[in-house]
Structures are given as structure tokens and as C-alpha cells.
């Protein structure tokens, strides 16, 4: 997200000077990502939760797995729903009121990264064909915005889903109800762990995993989702700037190279807790 904030004007200028000298304020390399940590399943009413930090960016993701009716077109498939609230709590530039175009874009890009990976078998979310399927809701709150909400939200959602438990149900011919407070020994299976990689362009330099001030200094954004078999599964170019075709090819290649590093970070953080 390229946020134009007056308070960041001065800092953004500093960012640009450093970048021009091939340095980042944070001392990170242009293509280095920040540290990841998380707390899993600390929210007891959620079926799964992840309090996720990426550098100083902090996301709270909560999962609810509910029974729904399938679409007539896909009577044996469940689905997921990704909602991201840009709470005015975490950033003075976010407003109250219904989701605006910024949060809609963010939610939809994260949704596509997860959905287009085809890492979830929708048919495994079927309870009873034509009647009952699982709907996996992932709602996220930004608790602190220090940049790169796209990647942070996507990682948080993935971690939360992979650790979310399915509620126990009682199923009859015509009814299906959740047994409150009881769970199956089963989590949402994601077979190929899609990860999103977001780059921004500052003047003519491209950096990975921007912080907030770096976003303020940038004018174009590029996000690409990669799966563990090194396929690209989703792309979103954003903001008013542009990329050359060759820059895009480079970005893709860097993202592919970074997949394993970031995936390992994420899996390690997941194991710790």
C-alpha cells in the first residue's frame, strides 16, 4: 500500500537518499525480508487464530469455520472468505465506515494468492453434497502498520488456517449443527503453501518487503504469489507508478529465489508456539 502521509514526507525523503546510495534505513538488503513471529490459537472463541508480526507490522487473524449451503454450480465444494479490516485503531490514515477501495484491494489480493494456489481441496470442505459445506472465514485486523500489509496478511491467514480446527458437528438427513466448544482432530489442509512477495519501486530501485516509510517513498507496487512447487499463482501491480517488462521479470525471479527462505522462517515461527 502506498500511503501518502504528510508526517512521512521528511522520512520518505531520507529513504530516497539512502536508497540512492543502495542502502535501506533499516540496514536490510534490498531483497531481505523481516523477521517473523507468531502466537497461534490464543483466542479461544476463534476456531483458529494467529497473532502475527512481520518486523513491526502486526496482524491479528481469526478463523471461524461455519456450515453453509453450497452454490448450485458446485454442490460438493466449500470455500474460504478473507476479510481485512483496516482498523482506524492501527493507523490514523484509516477511516471508520465500510471497507474502502484500499482494504478491498488488499483483501482480494490476499484471497487470490490463497485461492489461486489451489492448495486447498474445495471438495474436502464438503460435508454433504448439495446440502452442507464448510465455509472458512478468515478475518484480520491490522494491529500495527509498519508496511507490507499484503504479505503480512497473507502469511497470517495461511498460518491461521493451517492451525484452525474444524468444529464437531451433528449431521442428520436434513440438518447439520455445530457442537459448540468441541472440535474434530482436523485442520484446514493447505498442500502448497502459497506465499506472497511484495516489492515497491523507489525512484528506479526495487526493494522487497517495504516498511511504511519506504511505501511512502515509493510510487509503484508489485505483489506475486508463489507456491512450494515454484509456480506463480497470482500477481497484482498497484499504485500509480509503472514497471518495465524487464523489471517484472527480475521481480519474479527474485520472488522465486526467496520462497524457500521465507517459507522456512514462517514454518519455524509456526513450530515455536
Amino acid at each position: 500500500m502506498v500511503i501518502k502521509m504528510k508526517e512521512h514526507f521528511y522520512e520518505a525523503e531520507m529513504v530516497k537518499q539512502e536508497i540512492a546510495e543502495n542502502k535501506r534505513l533499516s540496514k536490510r538488503g534490498f531483497l531481505d525480508t523481516r523477521d517473523i513471529s507468531m502466537e497461534l490459537n490464543t483466542l479461544l472463541n476463534a476456531d483458529g487464530s494467529c497473532i502475527f508480526t512481520y518486523g513491526k507490522t502486526k496482524i491479528i487473524a481469526g478463523v471461524k469455520i461455519l456450515i453453509d449451503k453450497p452454490y448450485p454450480d458446485n454442490p460438493d465444494e466449500g470455500s474460504i472468505s478473507i476479510g481485512i479490516e483496516l482498523s482506524p485503531m492501527s493507523d490514523p490514515s484509516f477511516g471508520t465506515g465500510p471497507p474502502d477501495e484500499t482494504s478491498i484491494e488488499l483483501s482480494r489480493v490476499v484471497d487470490r494468492a490463497l485461492r489461486e494456489s489451489k492448495g486447498i481441496d474445495w471438495k474436502k470442505l464438503c460435508i454433504k453434497e448439495g446440502k452442507f459445506v464448510w465455509m472458512v472465514y478468515v478475518d484480520m485486523y491490522i494491529m500495527n502498520n509498519d508496511g507490507n500489509l499484503f504479505d503480512a496478511c497473507e502469511y497470517a491467514a495461511l498460518a491461521a488456517m493451517k492451525n484452525a480446527r474444524f468444529p464437531k458437528i451433528e449431521l442428520t438427513e436434513d440438518t447439520c449443527t455445530i457442537v459448540k466448544g468441541e472440535y474434530e482432530n482436523k485442520v484446514v489442509e493447505f498442500t502448497n503453501d502459497p506465499l506472497l512477495f511484495t516489492f515497491v519501486k523507489i525512484d528506479d530501485k526495487i526493494i522487497l518487503d517495504p516498511e511504511l516509510v519506504e511505501e511512502a517513498a515509493s510510487n509503484a507496487r508489485f505483489s506475486i504469489a508463489i507456491t512450494n512447487d515454484k509456480k506463480m499463482v497470482a500477481i497484482q501491480k498497484g499504485a500509480e507508478g509503472s514497471f518495465k517488462i524487464d523489471e517484472i521479470k527480475d521481480i519474479v525471479s527474485i520472488a522465486l529465489k526467496n520462497y524457500d527462505v521465507v517459507h522456512k522462517k514462517l514454518m519455524n515461527a509456526m513450530k515455536k508456539k
Binding site: 472463541n45 476456531d47 491479528i60 481469526g62 471461524k64 485503531m89 478475518d139 494491529m143 459448540k180
Partner: protein, 244 residues
Amino acid sequence: MVKNEEWYFDQKGKRFDGRGQFEQRPINLKVGVIDRADGSAYVEWGQNKAVAAVYGPREMLPKHMANPNKATIRYFYRMAPFSVPDRKNPKPGRREIEISKVSGEALSRAAELEQFPNTAIDVFVTILDANAGTRITALLAASLALADAGIPMKDLVSGTSVGKAGGKLISDLSKHEEDAPDAVDLPIAMLPNSDEVVLMQMDGPLTEKEFNEILEVARKSCKEIKDMQVKVLKERFKDDFNGD
């Protein structure tokens, strides 16, 4: 969770979750949890978890809403969709709007709003996990966040819930107790220094005698909780306090 267990006190007088009659659930306070807010706090009260952020005093928009005599507190109490057993619709409901109104009024009594005419002080509180008592959990967090933001205050807003379940008066009802057939829930917030009640709501039948009795329990609890609030603020501003 065991379902449909309709008992509220065991033979030793302990409650369903093992607490004594007027024992509160563990409370955990933290100040300064959101970098970009002017003030922020996190409160755990049993299973309840609330995050609060304060922005302001800042320009009131739209301008015609500004009060030329003082700052206006706008309080947004919201429950996350995953904070309750059933998924909550993300759109704020009527309950959230009412709680926001009375909570904002309670805070307004505490803050020295006259010092900041024409401005808005926005207080955002999100409930991440809920198990009865969220409006008071939220208000504690908001009060700490307001102090953390450096807004001058007559006193901290402290609060608790008292009520009744299974035939006896109790402190700090859990969800299980709130669902009792004879449940009474009475959230209350005070400025303990001046013995002022700034928020009070009640659902369910009580006699006058019961009411007067439980009110004294609440008064005492508010004082205790305020001590906890002060302690955590002192730690936050250690240098400032030491410097005096």
C-alpha cells in the same frame, strides 16, 4: 466446554470455574501496544481480550460537529467476527453502538476535555475474545490508552461487573453464569477517587437489598482494579514518575 451443566456453586460454595463468590477472574493490563497510536493498551480479563487505541486531540471532521467548549470523545467499541462462539457480522450492531455511547460518556467525565476545545479524541476498542464482561474490559483498556496518550484526567475510569446467578450475588459473571435463568448482570464504571459512578447498566431482577449489597462489592472492586491500572501506568512512565 461442558454443555448444559446448570449448576453455579459446588458444595464448597465454589463457582463453576472454581472462583469464590466475589472473586474476579485474573486481570492483565498492558500499556503502549500500538506504535502509531497516540495512546494504546491491551487488557485481558479472564478470557476477554481488548485492545484500545487513542488518537487525538485532533481536528474534528466534519467541522460542524466540533464543540467550541471542549474536546469530543468518540468511542468505537467493536467485536471482532471471531471473538464470539457464533461469527459476528463485521458491521457494527445496535448493541455495539449503545455500548460505545455510554462508554464514551463515562470517559468524557474523566478527561479534562475543556483543555482542548473544537477537537476530537477518538477511542477505538476491539474485542478479540469474549466471555462476558467485554464492555468493562474495553473501558479499562480505553482508560489506560487515554492516560497513555497523555490526556489529562481527573481520575482513571475503573470498572467491574457484579450480579447474580444460581441464587447468589457474585462478582464478575462468566458467560456460563450470564446464561443462568436468574442471571443479573450489572456492569459499572467509576472514578474511584471521587466515588462517582460514570457507567451503570443492569439486566434482570434484583431486590433493593441485593442491589445495595452488591453495589458495595462493586465499589471495592473498582478501587482494587484502579490500583492495578495505576501500577501499570507507573511502570510505563517509570522515568517520569522517578523524575518527580
